[in-house]
Amino acid sequence: MKKLWYSAFIFLGILALLAGGSSVTQAQEKTLILATTTSTQDTGLLDVLIPIFEKKTGYFVKTIAVGSGQAMTMGQKGEADVLLVHSPAAEKKFMEDGFGVSRRLVMHNDYVIVGPAEDPAKIKGLKSGGEAFKKMAAAQALFVSRGDNSGTHSKEKEIWKVAGNKYEGEKWYQQTGLGMGQTLNVAAEKKGYTLTDRGTYLALAKTLKLSILVEGDAVLLNIYHVMEVNPQKWPKANIAGAKAFADFMVSKETQEIIKTFGVDKYGSPLFFPDAGKKVEDLGK
C-alpha cells in the first residue's frame, strides 16, 4: 500500500531527472535570439531557413515570433540580437535612434485587402488601397484590424491616413490584438474586411471564406528588412551571430530558397527576394 503512495512521487521524480538532462542552458555565445513577425513563422518560411542556418554556422536560433512592434521593442531593450521585420517607418526610426547597426533589404511581398465574397462596400477591383478604405468607411462595413502595432497594423494606419477617414472608435472598426492568422479567422467568421500580407493569406486560404478584393497598389508593398542590434548599447547582444544571420538572409543561396518557397504548395511564391536592391525599385 505504501509503495503505491510513493510510486506517484517516483514517477514525477523520473520526469524531473529527464528534464534535468535536457534543460541545460546553451552556451550564450552560440545562442542567437531572432525577433521576427508572425508572418515569417505562420507561412513556414523560417522552418525552412533556420535549420539550414543552424547547420551551416553552428548557432542555435531562438525564434520569437511576435508583431513587428514588439520585435523592435525587444531590439531596443537589447532582448534580441537580430530582427527580421516589415515596418519600414518604425525601422527607420529604430536606426536613427542608434538601436541598430545595419538594416538590409531581404525580400518583399504585398498586402492585399480581403473580405467576404459578397463585398458589401463594393471595393472589388479598385486599384487604390486608400480609395477602398474610403468606401469601406462610407459603407460602415466591418473592418477587423490587428491593433497590435505590428508591421501590418502600421501599414493599415498608413492607408487610413491616405483615405482620410475617421476610423478609431467607430463601431464598424474592431481590433483583435492577435496575430495575422488569427485575425484572418476572426474576419472570416464575422464576414469583415481586413488587411493582410499575401503570404499568410495564401497559407490560410484553404480554410478561410475570404477573397482578395484589392491588390497591386504601390502603397500595398510589404517590405522585409533584417536589422542587427547595436552592441554598443547592449553589450550582451550576440553581434557575431546577428551579423552571420543577416549575411545569411541576403546570401545568394537563401535568396534562391525564398524565391521558390511556397511554389509547390500554393502555385506562386510567397515572397520575392530583393537582396541588394533599392526599396524605390520594388514592385516595378
Binding site: 521524480g13 524531473a16 542552458t25 550564450q28 520569437i64 532582448e79 495575422m180 492568422g181 490560410l204
Partner: protein, 232 residues
C-alpha cells in the same frame, strides 16, 4: 464537424506513426510540467503544512494570500518571469529566458500556491487532538509532521492533480517565457496556439486530443493510487 473528425484521424495517425516532432513536443510537455509540479510539491507541502500547524500574527492575511495565489493567472506569471529573466533584467545573468528551464520556473510559480492552498486546507482539517496524541506517544515534531502529512495524503494527491492539471494546460506563461521555439521549447499548448494561427485546425485538434489523453492518463495513475489508499 468534419474538421473534428479530421482532427481525430490526424491525432490517431500522429500517434501510431510516432511522429518525431509530436513525440518530442508531448515529451517536453510532460517533462516541464512534471518537474514544475514536483518542485511545487516540495515547497507547497512544507509551506502549507507549516502554516496550517502554527499560529502567528497576520496568519489570516498569509492564508488569504495563498488562497488568492491559487487563482494566479498564468499570463501574469509569464509577464513577471519574462521581465525578471530578460538578459538586461534583474535575473538576466542566469541566461535562461526562452529555455525549458524558464518554463519550469514559471509553471512552478503557478502550481506552488495551488499545492500550498490544498495542503493547508487538508492539514488543518485533521483533528487537533491527533497532534497531541502523536506527541504524547513520544514523536519528535518532525515525525509528527510526517505522520500528519501521511494522514492527509488523500487530499495531497488531489493537490498533485490540481497542480499538474493547472500547469500542463496553461499556455500564457509557457509561450512568453519559452518562446515556442521549434524542437526546443514548444509544448502541446503553445503548438496548438501556433497551429491555430497557421490555419492548420486539424493538427491543432490533434494536439489538443493528445494533451487531453496525456492529462487523463496521468490522472488515472494518480487516482488509482489515491483510491487504493482510501481508508476502509
Amino acid at each position: 464537424m468534419d474538421l473534428i473528425i479530421e482532427g481525430i484521424k490526424k491525432a490517431f495517425w500522429l500517434l501510431v506513426s510516432f511522429d518525431p516532432e509530436v513525440l518530442g513536443i508531448t515529451f517536453l510537455s510532460l517533462k516541464v510540467s512534471g518537474t514544475a509540479t514536483l518542485i511545487s510539491l516540495f515547497i507547497g507541502i512544507s509551506v502549507g503544512a507549516s502554516v496550517a500547524l502554527t499560529r502567528f500574527p497576520g496568519r489570516r492575511i498569509v492564508v488569504s494570500l495563498i488562497n488568492t495565489g491559487m487563482a494566479l493567472p498564468p499570463v501574469v506569471v509569464g509577464l513577471f518571469v519574462t521581465i525578471s529573466l530578460w538578459r538586461n533584467g534583474p535575473l538576466g545573468f542566469m541566461g535562461i529566458l526562452y529555455t525549458p528551464l524558464a518554463m519550469i520556473v514559471a509553471q512552478a510559480v503557478i502550481a506552488t500556491p495551488i499545492v500550498t492552498g490544498i495542503t493547508l486546507a487538508a492539514v488543518q482539517q485533521l483533528p487537533a487532538k491527533l497532534r497531541l496524541q502523536i506527541l504524547a506517544l513520544g514523536a519528535t515534531r518532525l515525525q509528527m509532521l510526517w505522520i500528519l502529512i501521511k494522514e492527509a495524503k488523500l487530499s495531497l494527491l488531489a493537490a498533485v492533480m490540481a497542480g499538474f492539471g493547472g500547469v500542463i494546460s496553461e499556455v500564457g506563461a509557457s509561450i512568453m517565457v519559452g518562446g515556442n521555439i521549434k524542437g526546443y521549447s514548444r509544448v502541446l499548448t503553445t503548438a496548438t496556439v501556433m497551429e491555430t494561427g497557421r490555419g492548420n485546425f486539424d493538427v491543432a485538434i490533434a494536439l489538443s486530443i493528445i494533451l487531453l489523453l496525456l492529462a487523463y492518463l496521468i490522472n488515472l495513475v494518480l487516482t488509482q493510487v489515491q483510491q487504493r489508499e482510501r481508508p476502509r
